[in-house]
């Protein structure tokens, strides 16, 4: 038995900032100190504070070390683990106060969070089914199979008010009920783990940190609708998640928690993985199903809905990873517990991946109804460098921007839809005054142009034309007529596209047009980019008063666009300037500015 557990975060964020080496250093140093029989080293899933990785938490003290480097490990082992002296300089500074070290759950980042889907992430070893069982894992499945009828299970989910966390927000219980009502010799339960929005990593973190929760929930869903087979569609770009899921599946089979006659109830259920090649459209349910079938991932018209004719033409339910991660807790704690959290029409919590111009880049789980201001200012720690909040982008390429005027909006499905954005799967990208909103719209359009599968014309051609118009505007060639056409085309694409990808692709344009029309106007009428992002609309100029004639800029310019004699003011040739900004970076006298 161990007297201390060293938990090293093994999420993708921390892994890329150095977990493997830190882990190795811990194993080595602990061995050298002769503590290998007293101290266990455990690799966990994501703690959420990805900006401060690699994160190491040492129990029983629950000391939260951040940005740990391999060379720090010797000190931690010999001071903390051997002599019981916490290495204060390496502890996450928010937990250090004059009275000593406070609990991590009292920090701004964690105190407003409420973890249901992420409850085990960062706490358990995702590669150990026993640790999952220790935190009440598989108890919900056991109870569902032995104490409830399938209809009762569905009723609990209906009563809880759980809605799909993938973006659309369709009531999960209703989806299950529809699938249960359709008779067939075979039905399927599918899990959408094809998280494709740029900047979103909620599902990946759940799969990496707590893979068994998804297996358990899918088995419960299988029991509820009468399916004996499940597929998890996960993108191959998530290698850690794929590996941990594969381990979890084989452990669950070994324990008889997947397979035949689970809990002696006569219920059979098994799960297989299907790896996607990373096409954004495969996050759309019909395209995903088509891809599992082995065909090219293209959407098909609905109806028939998957609940009627889904995978292999059989009734199928498809839920997102985070949706599943809520299910076992709802079964264990009851529908009332879950529906007591959140707002009137959006129950429970939502996981968001915070990114962009924000201090605490990472993963947070908040009760529905938390305001955007709380998320950005308090949990997220605000915007770096004293810049001002301009907008938050939610829902990725299908969503929209929330401007400062809606900073105090309680985040839930309906509020976000009302202001032209959407919950989406949970990416939340914060933008400050240095972001150009036209450029942001163009960025997302570039993504959808690339990811449009090409099956229907409104999406294939429409998004391309939209992109070209935005390009024209950012180059300063746009006209007022273009702005009108832009809006018309957006509406046309929304109404006529075959699947969700096309139907939502214009959203970034529409929402920026709605809230930041002045920026579009500045590009079109004044030929200026207020945030100084769009290169074609910028010019770098040298202030003759400030220029000392040091020649550093002209020597640094990659295109020889700067001329001038030593100790005399230099001049930039605007025709030659490629607007790379090197001269401004190099100038020691602040003589170069953007106009």
């Amino acid at each position: 038995m161990y007297r201390s557990h060293v938990l090293v975060c093994g999420g993708t964020g921390c892994t890329s900032s150095g977990t493997p080496k830190v882990l190795e250093a811990f194993t080595d140093e602990i061995k050298k100190a002769g503590l290998e029989k007293e101290v266990a080293v455990v690799q966990t899933g994501c703690h959420g504070l990805c900006a401060l990785g690699p994160i190491v938490v040492i129990y029983p003290e629950a000391t939260f070390y951040s940005m740990v480097k391999p060379e720090d490990v010797f000190e931690i082992v010999n001071e903390h683990l051997l002599k019981g002296r916490i290495v204060t300089r390496l502890v996450y500074d928010e937990t250090v106060s004059e009275e000593g070290i406070t609990s991590i759950s009292d920090t701004d980042f964690y105190k407003k969070q409420h973890r249901i889907a992420l409850r085990n992430c960062g706490i358990i070893n995702p590669e150990s089914i026993d640790e999952y069982i220790a935190t009440n894992g598989y108890e919900a499945l056991g109870r569902a199979l032995t104490q409830y009828t399938p209809d009762e299970v569905i009723q609990i989910i209906l009563d809880s008010g759980l809605r799909g966390r993938g973006g659309g927000g369709f009531p999960t219980g209703l989806k299950w009920k529809l699938a249960r009502g359709n008779d067939a010799d075979q039905k399927y339960v599918c899990c959408n783990a094809d998280e494709g929005d740029p900047g979103a990593f909620m599902d990946r973190s759940v799969l990496e940190g707590d893979p068994h929760v998804v297996l358990e929930a899918m088995a419960i869903a299988g029991y509820a609708i009468g399916a004996s087979m499940g597929y998890i569609y996960i993108r191959a770009e998530y290698p850690i998640a794929v590996e941990r899921l594969s381990i979890a599946i084989s452990q669950a089979r070994e324990y008889g928690l997947l397979g035949k006659n689970i809990f002696g109830s006569g219920f059979d259920f098994d799960i297989e993985l299907r790896l996607g090649a990373g096409a954004f459209v495969c996050g759309e349910e019909t395209a995903l199903i088509t891809s599992i079938e082995g065909n090219r991932g293209e959407p098909r018209p609905r109806p028939p809905f998957p609940a009627q004719k889904g995978l292999f033409q059989k009734p199928t339910i498809l839920n997102n990873v985070e949706t599943y991660a809520n299910i076992p807790q709802i079964i264990l704690n009851g529908a009332e517990w879950f529906s007591s959290l959140g707002t009137e029409k959006s129950k429970g919590t939502k996981v968001f991946a915070l990114g962009g111009k924000i201090h605490n880049t990472g993963l947070v789980e908040i009760p529905m109804g938390t305001t955007l201001r709380e998320v950005v200012e308090e949990i997220g720690g605000g915007i770096p460098d004293g810049k001002k909040f301009k907008a938050a982008q939610t829902g990725g390429p299908s969503g929209g921007c929330i401007p400062y005027s809606h900073y105090d909006i309680p985040i839930d499905y309906d509020n976000l839809l009302e202001i032209g954005s959407m919950m989406g799967s949970g990416g939340l990208i914060v933008m400050d005054e240095d972001n150009c909103m036209v450029d942001i719209a163009k960025f997302f359009l570039e993504f959808t142009v690339d990811e449009s599968c090409g099956k229907c014309t409104p999406c294939r051609v429409g998004t391309k034309r939209l992109y070209e118009m935005l390009e024209k505007i950012t180059e300063g060639k746009g006209t007022m007529e273009d702005l009108e056409k832009l809006e018309d085309l957006c509406k046309y694409i929304k109404e006529n596209s075959l699947c969700g990808l096309g139907q939502s692709a214009p959203n970034p344009v529409l929402s920026t047009l709605q809230f930041f029309k002045d920026e579009y106007m500045a590009h079109v009428v004044d030929k200026k980019c207020p945030a100084a992002v769009c290169k074609a609309l910028l010019s770098y100029v040298i202030d003759a008063e400030l220029c000392k004639g040091c020649t550093l800029c002209s020597r640094s310019c990659p295109n020889n666009a700067i001329s001038g004699k030593v100790k005399e003011a230099h001049i930039i040739d605007q025709d030659k300037c490629i607007k790379c900004g090197v001269c401004m970076e190099k100038c020691r006298f602040g003589a170069i500015s953007i106009r």
């Binding site: 038995m1 161990y2 007297r3 201390s4 557990h5 938990l7 029989k37 007293e38 129990y59 029983p60 003290e61 629950a62 051997l82 002599k83 019981g84 002296r85 609990s103 991590i104 759950s105 706490i123 358990i124 026993d130 640790e131 069982i133 220790a134 935190t135 009440n136 598989y138 108890e139 056991g142 109870r143 032995t146 324990y255 008889g256 928690l257 689970i262 809990f263 002696g264």
Partner: protein, 123 residues
């Protein structure tokens, strides 16, 4: 997996070990002095013994942790027991055997083992 009981058995064994990762301000804390003086006089076997027994008995509300020099080096190994809402009890000159006795008497039964306390020995 054939029954909920089978699951429960696995859970209980594991929970004893996982109890280490619980954060709870109402926990009883057993603190072992682990400075150089403590280690030299044998604090490590005491710490291991305490940590093992707490997990074996499934005392999830008890946390065994360590601290630096308590300041009474000649009485090491020192073990302090901090129960919420109660006065701190300090045991001195501990051995693994004495430590087990303390868990049994003090932690489980709630009776302070006076013969090992600092007031008894130091006077």
């Amino acid at each position: 997996m054939k029954s909920l009981e089978e699951l429960k058995a696995i859970r209980e064994t594991m929970q004893a070990q996982m109890g280490l990762r619980k954060e709870d301000s109402n926990q009883t804390r057993i603190v072992v002095g682990m400075a150089t003086c403590g280690i030299a006089s044998g604090a490590r076997p005491v710490l291991t013994a305490l940590s093992n027994i707490v997990q074996e008995k499934g005392l999830t509300n008890v946390m065994v942790t360590q601290t630096g020099c308590i300041g009474l080096c000649q009485y090491e190994p020192i073990v302090e027991i901090l129960e919420p809402g109660k006065d701190k009890v300090t045991y001195v000159k501990m051995t693994p055997e004495k430590a087990l006795e303390i868990v049994d008497q003090h932690i489980i039964r709630g009776q302070i083992v006076s013969k090992y306390t600092i007031s008894e020995i130091v006077g």
